[in-house]
Symmetry: C2
Subunit: 103 residues, 2 copies
Amino acid sequence: MAYAEVFSALADPTRRHILEALRHEPKTVGELAEGQPVSRPAVSQHLKVLEAARLVSVEPRGNRRLYLVRWDGLEDLRQYVEHFWSDVLSAYGAEIARRAEKT
Amino acid sequence: MAYAEVFSALADPTRRHILEALRHEPKTVGELAEGQPVSRPAVSQHLKVLEAARLVSVEPRGNRRLYLVRWDGLEDLRQYVEHFWSDVLSAYGAEIARRAEKT
DNA sequence: CATCTTTGTAAGCCATCGCTTACGGTAAGG
DNA sequence: CCTTACCGTAAGCGATGGCTTACAAAGATG
């Protein structure tokens, strides 16, 4: 899994805003660019990064391109965080138990 | 919440390795640097970034400094991903329902 | 007190990033 | 057709990132 691509994709504020704008429904590049403080080509470049990170996908609609959040890419991220989280938590619990045992 | 700091901290492979090395037990800078392909000062700089992102914390032990994973910082990240995840999922479910209704 | 160990910080260098403007290509519409 | 709308890509520029080496500070150790 290429976590570097996913995390660095989410590191940029504009990219997170774009992704959050796609949370509820797919949108075209123009619609996405309208809500952002940067130019439309910049949004295109951001979308390219998000696509490489498997966080969005495209569906051509005639002249336009409809971008939407990718289900599976998000799931991978979720699992990574969840896994790490449970590891830290269990280590924390083991440490507590070790201290209790030492009394 | 400063998600940019968290995600850009996790974007770097070396920083992820450092964090994963701290998953089960705290370690000193020297111990952490030993497992990495970069110099010890580089590890120090990475730890500074991880600390600013609230992903690790420090406990001075005499001459050394013991680094450990921060519980709450990780929880914030987990909640962000989980929240986003559920949003996308519910939107996905609503779309399915809308299509079923249109038959 | 002198020395060694452990670590953070400063400076400098090269690569990468994010932005803009300019351009090309393809679909839509008169 | 000819023009307009929508979008991706190339080029170039300033800013940021990650690394190294060199140095400084502070505790451990004799």
